[in-house]
Assembly symmetry: C2
Homo-oligomer: 183 residues x 2
């Protein structure tokens, strides 16, 4: 539940943008027409500001990509934030098309099909994009653990108000057993 | 609950790094000594890899900052991912010291004390950093709504497998009432 209950009960107020269509005002969760093509050009997105798909031209520059956007993976079962990684447009398309999380590895400079080495894949249950169309949220079914250090979540370290750092979670497995020479 | 139950019951296996200290092996959630100073230099972090605080030298370059790292805000009450923004080292320090979320606004090129205009502040209940020390997770008590468009979360658009986009959430308030001239 949110912190300020009155907001939950507030009427749904359409903004100027939504007021362009009367139909949209009547529908709490309006369905928009899909882009002309899954590979719609960025100019198409800009022409339809109420229906943005991720705008990779606004992403972090990286050689060989159209830009990188941050992608958060959240465990659909328990709500934990598992990790954050980066997507270029190819990773984005493959993720949407296959339902398996695919990122762009900055260190390796290529597509990273999560779990391709470890087997710890992420099946994508839901995809969200943010208001600025420059960040992605994946709700995933995580096989095994998300973190290469063997923790359920990469965010296993807690920072206290005195800036000290604790390991706040329990390691689930030995990373060497997953990433060792024999696997 | 995780997808693969056996991992939950697996023994806690210390890695080579943890084996350096016998005490650490006995403690599932070991407490580490805080840095010498809250303003510890980056070289100190690198000398103590098991106790990293965010390494802003690894962040996205931006004029006037030591680097920007992504910071995810998650609602501590219901687990929703509310937004993602950026922090430089000053924003990070102020966030930890004050317990209120402070980001760095790339569009305005300055510190952004979340809620300073809207009143929709984020009280920080817990801070996590990730395994690579280049991403931050804030668990927050959100006053009002996180999104400047009036939604509880900035991630209010859902993307379907055919790349179509729906608004999947209900708008909580009219942004004009918050960001209008009179407020």
């Amino acid at each position: 539940m949110p912190i300020v209950p009155p907001l939950r009960n507030a009427p749904i107020i359409a903004t100027k943008r939504l007021k362009r269509s009367e139909n949209r005002r009547k529908t709490p969760t309006p369905m928009f027409a899909p882009p002309a093509s899954p590979h719609a050009r960025l100019s198409d997105q800009k022409a339809n500001p109420v229906n943005p798909i991720p705008d990779f031209s606004r992403g972090q520059a990286f050689p060989g990509t159209s830009g990188l956007l941050p992608a958060i993976a959240q465990d659909v079962a328990n709500g934990r934030v598992l990790m954050i990684a980066w997507m270029d447009e190819r990773a984005w398309r493959e993720t949407v098309e296959t339902g398996q999380a695919v990122y762009f590895s900055r260190s390796r400079g290529k597509l990273w099909r999560k779990g391709e080495t470890s087997g710890h894949r992420q099946r994508v249950e839901e995809i969200r994009v943010d208001c600025d169309a420059d960040a992605i949220l994946l709700k995933v079914q995580q096989t095994g653990v998300a973190c290469h250090e063997g923790y359920e979540s990469c965010f296993f370290r807690r920072v206290e108000s005195d800036f000290s750092v604790n390991i706040a979670d329990t390691r689930r497995l030995d990373p060497d057993s997953v990433y060792g020479k024999s696997t």
